[in-house]
């Protein structure tokens, strides 16, 4: 099944986000081998060159490492994965806050709403 990709944004950026997400979510464990470019491209239903570009970018950021023996693996630097996760979370929150403000909510209203939704677990 091909990945669900937006049609109006560059594909490479979406692939990058998607794989980042999978690493952060633990679908690819630290130190785990990542499938070949061809396989990933075939799964995603995208051009192998584009997939290559996305993986190169991940390598540049250090989240993925190329090993001579086993190909591409996820970094074992847990700190880096955590950092990436926090980064992604922050992006989500920023986006959420922006939309809520568009709906006319102030910061305090939003926190109150969240508390309410989660049954007061938020402190």
């Amino acid at each position: 099944m091909a990945w669900n990709l937006d049609s109006d944004r560059p594909i490479y950026a979406q692939l990058l986000e998607r794989i980042q997400m999978q690493i952060v979510a633990g679908i690819y464990q630290p130190g785990e081998k990542i499938p070949s470019v061809r396989e990933l491209a075939a799964d995603a239903g995208v051009n192998p060159n584009t997939m290559q570009k996305a993986l190169s970018e991940l390598e540049r950021s250090g989240l993925v490492i190329t090993q001579r023996t086993s190909g591409r693996v996820v970094t074992e630097d847990l700190e880096m994965i955590k950092e990436t996760r926090n980064q992604l979370a922050k992006e989500q929150i920023d986006e959420f806050m922006k939309r809520m403000r568009n709906l006319g909510f102030e910061k305090e209203d939003i926190i109150a709403l969240l508390k309410n939704e989660t049954g007061g677990e938020l402190s």
Partner: protein, 233 residues
């Protein structure tokens, strides 16, 4: 040399009156998946037939690896026409033998593997297979060659979504990395994610040759919507 195909001043006129291609110039490089896009009757199939040596140009020329279409180019071009070209009384196994004999770059083990994964029996005769299966057999044979150029004419026209996914997957996983895949289609949205580049042609003219990422970045829209804009009636 990264130029794989050179199209120079190519003109094709049928029966001295119907112009299918007019002074077309193109360069196609290696290692790409390229979409040849245009409305029906824009000259896509004419260009493809000329590249395969099935038609002679009225003027101009095409060069593949520096050769005009002929035995030398045909040995390195793997072509999937819109039609199935089998002799119906042949068995699948005989087709594999046929391709093995005629194309030095054909990899029979790869074809057998793919046929087996679809549960197609090599002893079946072509005439006992369904239309969809015949098309898949043909795609498998074409993609089992280590060609320099794969030319696929409307590979996903008229197939169901599952078959479409299979076809796209087969193309991606099998083409030779130093080769180029040129595929024509009018179903752009189904296929644009696998393309590096697109070539738009209209009434035998080149309208645009660009990378897909450029179109998305510069135009901020998909190739499909951009195509609709360019070819709006």
């Amino acid at each position: 040399m990264s130029e794989l195909v050179e199209v120079r001043n190519l003109t094709k006129v049928y029966d001295k009156k119907k112009t299918a291609l007019q002074n077309l110039n193109l360069t196609i490089t290696r290692g790409k998946i390229i979409g040849l896009l245009g409305p029906n009757g824009s000259g896509k199939t004419t260009l493809i037939k000329i590249l395969n040596g099935l038609l002679n140009p009225t003027e101009g020329e095409v060069l593949i690896n520096g050769n005009k279409p002929g035995p030398a180019s045909k040995a390195h071009v793997s072509y999937l026409p819109e039609r199935t070209y089998f002799q119906n009384s042949m068995k699948v196994r005989e087709l594999i033998e046929y391709f093995t004999d005629f194309y030095e770059d054909f990899r029979p083990e790869r074809a057998r593997e793919m046929l087996a994964s679809l549960n197609i029996n090599e002893n079946d005769r072509i005439k006992t297979l369904s239309k969809g299966t015949r098309e898949k057999v043909q795609l498998i044979l074409v993609m089992s060659r280590e060609a320099d150029l794969y030319i696929l004419d409307e590979p996903i026209a008229g197939v169901d979504p599952a078959a479409r996914d299979y076809i796209i997957r087969t193309i991606i996983t099998n083409y030779n990395e130093n080769a180029t895949v040129l595929l024509s289609t009018h179903l752009i949205s189904d296929i644009e994610n696998i393309l590096d580049e697109v070539i738009f042609i209209k009434e035998g003219h080149l309208v645009l040759q660009s990378t897909v990422e450029d179109i998305r970045m510069i135009q901020g829209k998909s190739v499909d919507s951009y195509f609709r804009e360019v070819f709006a009636c």
